[in-house]
């Protein structure tokens, strides 16, 4: 803030503490709220980053009193918080907990919510600033947003703010994404809408930008002259668990490629932004997403699969169709791979392969930039037989870090060159310093800093890319089954093999 003589850009010890405010969480009894949001709020308080008087209002159907709510939160914080549990931090935070019971179409409950917020402004000094966190299925968004408007909860006096936070999925195709946006933007201005993609809050993801634009040695190679192709992988070793209701009919492409993987692609491929403010970052990301092209033949440039029963990591697991509440004829894909191109001078001719799936070999998310082979090798062919492409791999999770793969001479031989890995482990160099993604994102919501939140235009662009693929799949019958615990269907391997490439084993 300008005009505060106590602030100085040189004074980097002073954390940015949000001004007086509170947060209203809809669906506070859900898993996300209990396992991620509440612990993150506690961790922020523990690090001294929340304003004094910060208040949390829980809104859900359950019949709870304020104390019951505090008790539930207490237990989940104890279990899931990253930082040490301290009574004095908890004490001051818990004083600001309120609970409002009601359905999303219950006028009385929303009146009570408004009353609660007004009380908090008076008692806790939240100053009329409130964020509404919609941790609820998207089909209720319209209801809640409408109620907020109707009960005057979206109105705010000048110099105060109201913000709304929504989680993915941001629609299930271009049309529904637009409808969702209309619902939100009818009540809240675009800068007050925060779409949470928790991947963007991860330190490693932010480090992609630091690595690319703070260093000299990577950027010169970061183009079609040197890069052969890029593989972006998000693999999970688990199945759908109890999320059948959510997952069936959605599938891997809508669940993670639309948001996480395309955002990773945008950060990896974008040009240098003029600065690191929200507008410049968004402009560059949008430019990349707009220049993304689909393969000419969707049947050859995409692959999808559905996990079948098998052994994953030493455990016998059921196939997707045998999971509870999944219809026997479900055509939902649990594995999706697509080949995208980017029409720009920098990336022309470089394929970006994106794949995401469940019940794969292990849990890993990474961006692998594979470089071209050296145009000429002044060695005997036998000497470089085991030398492959140089690669730079950004490991997003787990074991965050960067791996560089290059050729090196095997000691003791005459001249034998083999791939070696050089490793930078985030966890080894800066242990424990990494806050949870949600901490960063919640803090940014309260501070009103949007660089890490995808805007509506980006969401629309990602659906523009994905819609034709999903339509194509819908016409083509069933996804190819693959055994659980392997690296996906053979059609995905063939998709790369046709172009003389192969998937990395991450």
């Amino acid at each position: 803030m300008t005009g505060n003589p106590l602030r100085d850009p040189q004074d980097r010890r002073l954390p940015k503490v949000a001004g007086p405010c509170g947060m209203v969480i809809f669906g506070v009894t859900g898993d996300l709220a209990r396992k991620k949001l509440m612990p993150a709020i506690y961790d922020l308080a523990n690090r001294g980053l929340l304003p004094p008087g910060f208040s949390v209002v829980g809104f859900a159907r359950r019949e709870w009193a304020d104390q019951d709510f505090a008790k539930i939160v207490h237990d989940s914080v104890r279990e899931h918080a990253r930082t040490e549990f301290r009574e004095e931090v908890w004490g001051q935070l818990a004083q600001g907990f309120r609970f409002v019971q009601g359905d999303f179409d219950d006028d009385v409950a929303f009146d009570q919510l408004r009353q609660t917020i007004t009380d908090l402004d008076r008692v806790r000094g939240t100053g009329g600033n409130h964020a509404f966190y919609l941790s609820i299925p998207p089909r209720f968004f319209g209801n809640v947003i409408g109620q907020l408007e109707e009960h005057g909860l979206a109105d705010h006096p000048p110099d105060t703010w109201r913000r709304v936070v929504v989680e993915k999925p941001f629609g299930s195709d271009l049309e529904s994404a637009r409808a969702l946006n209309e619902t939100l933007s009818g009540v809240f201005p675009p800068e007050a809408v925060f779409r949470i993609d928790h991947y963007l809050g991860k330190e490693t993801v932010q480090n992609i930008l630091a690595m690319r634009f703070a260093n000299m040695m990577f950027e010169p190679l970061w183009n079609a002259n040197y890069v052969d192709h890029v593989q972006i992988t998000m693999a999970e070793d688990i199945g759908i668990g109890g999320r059948a209701g959510y997952y069936d009919g959605i599938g891997a492409a809508r669940d993670v490629i639309q948001n996480h993987l395309l955002q990773l692609l945008a950060l990896t491929a974008m040009e240098e932004p003029t600065s690191f403010d929200a507008r410049s970052l968004r402009m560059e990301k949008l430019k990349v997403l707009e220049s993304v092209t689909l393969p000419r033949r969707l049947d050859l440039g995409t692959a999808r699969g559905q996990y079948a029963a098998g052994w994953a990591g030493g455990v016998k697991v059921p196939g997707y169709l045998e999971e509870p509440d999944i219809p026997d004829d479900s055509t939902t894909e649990t594995y999706a791979a697509i080949r995208l191109g980017i029409d720009s001078r920098r990336w022309s001719g470089v394929p970006f392969y994106l794949r995401a799936g469940k019940r794969l070999g292990r849990r890993v998310t990474e961006v692998a930039v594979q470089f071209k082979k050296a145009p000429h090798l002044p060695f005997h062919a036998a000497a470089t037989e085991t030398l492959t492409h140089n690669a730079l791999v950004i490991r997003v999770q787990p074991d965050e870090g960067i791996t560089l793969r290059f050729g090196s001479k095997v000691p003791g031989t005459q001249m034998e060159i083999r791939d070696v890995n050089m490793d930078f482990a985030y966890g080894g160099t800066f242990t424990e310093a990494s806050p949870e993604a949600y901490e960063r994102l919640i803090l940014d919501v309260l501070l009103g800093e949007p660089p890490l939140f995808p805007r509506h235009e980006e969401v629309e662009q990602s659906w523009r890319i994905l819609d034709p693929i999903i339509e194509h799949w819908a016409e083509k019958g069933r996804p190819e089954p693959y055994p659980s615990g392997t690296w996906g269907p053979s059609s995905a391997d063939e998709m790369l093999a046709r172009e003389g490439r192969s998937w990395r084993r991450p």
């Binding site: 803030m1 005009g3 505060n4 003589p5 106590l6 602030r7 100085d8 040189q10 004074d11 980097r12 010890r13 002073l14 954390p15 503490v17 001004g19 007086p20 308080a45 523990n46 001294g48 304003p51 004094p52 008087g53 301290r86 004095e88 931090v89 004490g91 001051q92 004083q95 008076r122 008692v123 806790r124 000094g125 100053g127 490793d423 930078f424 482990a425 080894g428 160099t429 800066f430 242990t431 424990e432 310093a433």
Partner: protein, 337 residues
């Protein structure tokens, strides 16, 4: 694994580091800095613990140097630890005899290449850390005026006078949460401040720094109040609309009062040394705001102090001699903030 070396030298310690690392199976461990801890024999254990705790966030080579008596023949004993759950590697190096006067010659060959060096004196800092033979090797030098055993009243001023870029005192680190809260309160009501009052226990280097910082930034003189502590107990800024006040009586919970708003409780715990080190090690460049604050503190100390209550001033001046002597003896377990 632990390797004990008797009557060794820097080369021996270096070789032990390498063999400990190799046997741990990770020839490169991504260490980010070297931390040199200079302690008298008595405080070595707790200092090593604090340094190791700090090294969890910033894996480093921690060299704890215990400088013994300079009499007799030179003798270097060392204990090298690596692996076993803690990141980085540590060496406890005991020097006695003539070599105790040339401790930097042992430390220099053991610094990691091309990475920052932090020197920390947990208890007795040299009067001029940047001119100290080991201090000279460091890019960052950390002292703790609240932990000196004699001359506590002057300790902070001594460090201020010998300030060099890269120096900081943990008394400064201790007040970061206070500064953050006051700055945040000020974000909301940035009016003209007409008076500053800082109240703290009698000897509190942190309180002096906090007063100097506020005075320097707000261009208003500070008045001082005295309390039984612990540490700083209250900061009050007089503005046209009323008083912005942050008060903490028990060293844990504070209350923030801003004109026109309800009082708000806030956790403001006194932090322990490993936490303070964590904060210090996050920034390895000179702290310009600290530099400006120590300049201000010297200026303030060189001109007479103003005390709000006349009686208190009188009392202080009559009792001054006795009080100062008492103050110079450090009561056990008391910290600055």
């Amino acid at each position: 694994m632990t390797i004990v070396l008797e009557q060794t030298d820097a080369g021996g310690i270096s070789a032990a580091f390498l063999s400990a690392r190799k046997s741990a199976g990770s020839p490169a461990m991504g260490m980010v800095m070297t931390m040199v801890v200079v302690v008298p024999a008595a405080g070595a254990e707790s200092a090593i613990e604090a340094a190791q705790e700090a090294a969890r966030e910033h894996p480093s080579r921690v060299l704890t140097v215990v400088i013994g008596s300079a009499r007799g023949a030179s003798r270097i004993d060392a204990e090298i630890r690596s692996g076993s759950g803690a990141p980085g590697e540590t060496a406890l190096i005991r020097l006695s005899g003539e070599v105790a006067k040339h401790s930097e010659s042992v430390v220099l060959p053991l610094l990691l290449p091309d990475s920052p060096v932090v020197v920390w004196w947990p208890t007795e800092p040299p009067a001029d850390p940047a001119a100290d033979p080991i201090g000279r090797l460091g890019t960052r030098r950390i002292t703790d005026a609240a932990e000196v055993s004699t001359g506590r009243n002057r300790a902070m001023l001594t460090q201020c006078r010998s300030y060099a870029p890269g120096n900081t005192d943990l008394a400064w680190t201790r007040i970061t949460p206070w500064r953050a809260l006051i700055a945040a309160a000020f974000d909301q009501a940035p009016g003209k401040v007409t008076g500053i009052k800082v109240t703290a226990e009698r000897v509190s280097p942190s309180a002096e720094l906090l007063g100097a910082w506020l005075s320097d930034r707000l261009k208003v003189p500070v008045s001082w109040g005295r309390s039984d502590g612990p540490g700083i107990t209250e900061v009050a800024l007089a503005t046209r609309d009323g008083e912005i006040r942050l008060a903490r009586g028990d060293g844990r919970h504070a209350t923030l009062s801003v004109p026109g708003q309800p009082d708000r409780p806030v956790g403001l715990r006194r932090r322990d040394v490993p936490e303070l080190l964590h904060e210090e090690l996050r920034r390895l460049d000179p702290d310009d705001i600290y530099a400006a604050t120590v300049r201000k503190l010297i200026k303030m100390r060189d001109t007479p102090r103003s005390t709000t209550k006349k009686s208190a001033a009188k009392k202080a001046s009559t009792k001054n001699g006795a009080a100062r002597k008492k103050a110079d003896k450090k009561p056990a377990g008391r910290k600055g903030a």
